[in-house]
Symmetry: C2
Subunit: 109 residues, 2 copies
């Protein structure tokens, strides 16, 4: 992953509501949740939530689909894996002091 792409991922996760959103959507699983439900769960006004959801989507950490009049957001596991892969492989270069307790069993996607 290019360093510039990585900074965009980090930037997306550098805001409290957004990090909480990602955490929330991972917990919910692939089925996801409508924007309004996420806003309620995090106690954030709708326009603010909409802004943050767009940011996360732009970074490739979540994705959206329409279902009737609801827009369902769900975690994008690919984008999240890329970030973890970047930290463990690209950035840290398999350094034992960083990756010590983690072992890569197979090549990452």
């Amino acid at each position: 992953m290019e360093i510039i792409e990585a900074t965009q991922l980090f930037s997306a996760l550098s805001q409290e509501s957004r990090l909480a959103t990602v955490k929330h959507l991972i917990r919910i699983g692939p089925r996801g949740a409508p924007a309004g439900d996420v806003a309620k769960a995090l106690d954030v006004p709708a326009p603010t939530m909409s802004f943050h959801l767009k940011e996360l989507e732009r970074a490739g950490l979540i994705h959206a689909r329409r279902e009737g009049r609801k827009i369902i957001y769900a975690a994008d596991y690919g984008g999240l894996r890329e970030l973890i892969d970047f930290l463990l492989a690209d950035c840290c270069g398999g350094d034992k002091r960083l990756c010590g307790p983690y072992v890569i069993l197979k090549e990452s996607a």
Copy 2:
């Protein structure tokens, strides 16, 4: 790790020069490098580099020590490990879709 602490780590890594600095200092190893050398290596003016090094130090990703008239910066492996741990454990909660290829061999620090 608290979600607010994690956003501070992500924020520190959300800037190109800073992420490159961390990568550079990890490569160099625990001995570290003086501020001026890092600035030259990344082709960044001294005051700008100083600003970014402070940000990284504040986040706990690097640390500084004086050696004569030089100030030596080195990667803080603890801070970096916390971030990886947060992503794999706290945030993703051991979700197979995210942690799939990684295995935690022992409890993290």
